[in-house]
């Protein structure tokens, strides 16, 4: 199953992913509209000692957020593998147990509504909006094994060039 893979070295912290995320989750569907609607982004670029580090949901195999969810709203879809607290029969009440549980800090409190906010994987789009927008290919939508193989190939190439 494909997921959002992060190449830390390629990220320069341009924040395009956060804008694209907000746009994709806004009613208008545009960046300007998202800013007017104050739609929050669900991917974060954290500053770590001067380095930009993207942090977002990994849609875990056994999601701690879903285990902690006391309403049943947060669930992993068995077909798509996506973990979300939206679009289910059970509704999120903003108890924040998922925020307490997520070891990646990928779930946040919505800035205005009493509801937890997280990456929904952009169901319906060919690839998540953040990935499509990333100009540096720091975010990629790939099979984890394929991504890892590419990284070791890159490492081998740079080692060969260095020698």
């Amino acid at each position: 199953m494909k997921s959002i893979m992060i190449d830390l070295d390629a990220c320069n912290g341009c924040l395009t992913c956060t804008l694209a995320c907000a746009a994709a989750h806004s009613r208008s569907g545009s960046i300007v509209g998202a800013m007017q609607e104050k739609t929050p982004a669900r991917i974060f670029i954290e500053a770590v000692n001067g380095r930009a580090v993207p942090v977002t949901c990994r849609h875990c195999e056994e999601p701690a957020c879903a285990e902690a969810c006391m309403t049943g709203a947060m669930r992993k879809d068995s077909l798509t593998g996506l973990v979300s607290n939206e679009g289910h029969e059970q509704k999120c009440v903003g108890c924040w147990m998922c925020i307490m549980a997520c070891p990646y800090g990928a779930v946040t409190a919505h800035p205005r509504e009493r509801v937890a906010l997280k990456c929904d994987g952009c169901p319906g789009l060919p690839q998540p909006a953040c990935v499509a927008a990333c100009p540096n290919r720091a975010l990629r939508y790939e099979e984890p094994a394929f991504f890892a193989a590419g990284r070791s190939r890159d490492a081998a190439c740079s080692a060969a060039q260095a020698s």
Binding site: P54, A64, T71, V93, C95, W96, C102, A106, T108, A109
Partner: protein, 423 residues
């Protein structure tokens, strides 16, 4: 075909049933419960009290859950487990056979031994039936007394206050949420509740519940209410007891299944008797922070233990990732708060660091032992709480990040960057 029998239809039981089906398409799975409703969330009962949710809204699984997963449901109260014949006996005279048994009977409200603390206007809040009873009574009463200022007590108080009732909370300890928060954090949350208009009486216990005639004799006034151990008297038409829980272990008495306060289990959720497992509020496990064996009665632990029990019942051995007994997230009015692990200092081996401005409803506290976080409190800003929780569970040395964590600057990016630098 293996026959799995699960006693209990809440967080642990329903999770186990779901995962057993995922792991074994052919096994027989039966859930027996004395509650007739489909599995619902006890944590949402205050929302039901407040009128924000209906009974159907409390369900934690889709309507087709049982049929879709081919889970048989039996309605009935289990009287006794008989491990020798591998049967459980029901109150209605029936009995159910099993190959593997999960006891997920949960707990019930514990009532303190106070004279007169019983009767139609006294109840706990543990089941949907309790909640329905309170809602029914709430239409005809004005003053509610909540006994205990833990999470359940305060959530109940807040919900009933929102229904327009006069609510007083009485707590024996000198602060609200005594099991979880320190005095500073409790003070912030209490101020917030006072602002709403709720009355909270601390450091006082209930000495006696007075009937209308008793009240008349004592105080020469016609009312019903309570006498506190400090001599004060309070009128109360409805008393909700939220003074802790007692695990439902009676069904294993004299069966050879070891119990302490709850049913003792190992990290595979196995009891002392082969083929019998326990999970959820009824189970006693080792706390990942304190190392002490005890109850860990919160929702995420019940789910995690139910999951572990299912894997092991299905013959795929897998230890529990470890339960953190004390962890809770709460937002009564508008201040989100999270506490985890050991939140009070005191022990000479513990280092306590705090930050924030309690006057502005922002407070952070870390409790560490040898640079390993063993507990935390976040009030006001709870973002990234789970990242700190992961550091607690992993017993990670945080000396490099201590100040960043305390100031709320730490995030998972730090660990990604560390891993990259290391790799």
């Amino acid at each position: 075909m293996v026959r799995h029998l699960i006693i209990g239809n809440s967080a642990a039981g329903i999770t186990a049933a779901e995962i057993l089906r995922r792991l074994d398409g052919r096994a027989g799975i039966t859930v027996v419960s004395d509650e007739a409703e489909p599995a619902y969330s006890r944590c949402l009962l205050p929302d039901f009290l407040a009128g924000r949710k209906t009974g159907a809204d409390l369900r934690i699984r889709p309507a087709d859950f049982y049929a879709g997963n081919r889970i048989d449901r039996v309605s009935g109260r289990v009287l006794r487990v008989d491990p020798r014949s591998r049967q459980v006996l029901l109150e209605n005279g029936g009995c159910l056979d099993y190959d593997r048994l999960l006891i997920a009977t949960g707990a019930r409200s514990a009532f303190p031994p106070v004279p007169g603390l019983s009767g139609p206007n006294v109840t706990g809040l543990r089941t949907l039936a309790d909640a329905r009873k309170i809602v029914q009574l709430a239409g005809n009463v004005r003053r509610v007394l909540v006994v205990g200022a833990g999470f359940v007590g305060l959530e109940t108080a807040y919900a009933l206050y929102n229904r327009g009732l006069e609510v007083t909370v009485v707590e024996k300890m000198p602060q609200i949420l005594p099991g979880q928060f320190d005095a500073t954090a409790a003070g912030i949350l209490q101020r917030d509740m006072h602002a709403e208009g709720m009355r909270i009486i601390l450091g006082a216990g209930i000495k006696e519940v007075l009937t209308p005639s008793g009240f008349l004799n004592f105080f020469n006034k016609s009312a019903q209410g309570v006498l506190l151990d400090n001599g004060d008297r309070l009128k109360a038409d409805l008393i909700v007891v939220a003074a802790g829980i007692r695990p439902n272990v009676e069904l294993v008495q004299d069966t050879g299944i070891s119990t302490g306060r709850g049913i003792t289990v190992d990290q595979f959720m196995r009891t002392s008797v082969p083929g019998v497992y326990a999970a959820g509020d009824v189970a006693e496990t080792e706390d990942v922070v304190t190392g002490r064996v005890g109850l860990t009665p919160i929702w995420p632990n019940a789910v995690s233990q139910g999951k572990t029990a299912a894997w092991n019942m299905a013959g795929q051995p897998r230890p529990c990732s470890g339960s953190l007994g004390m962890q809770n997230a709460v937002e009564f009015r508008e201040i989100p708060s999270i506490a985890m692990g050991i939140t009070q200092g005191g022990d000479p081996g513990l280092e306590v660091v705090t930050a924030g401005q309690p006057g502005q409803n922002v407070y952070r506290k870390l409790v560490l032992r040898d640079n390993v976080i063993v507990g935390m409190i976040l009030v006001g800003d709870i973002s990234g709480a789970g990242v700190i929780g992961a550091l607690i569970r992993k017993h990670a040395d945080v000396r490099k990040f201590k100040d960043d964590i305390l100031r709320g600057r730490f995030n998972y990016g730090y660990m990604l960057a560390e891993m990259r630098n290391a790799g």
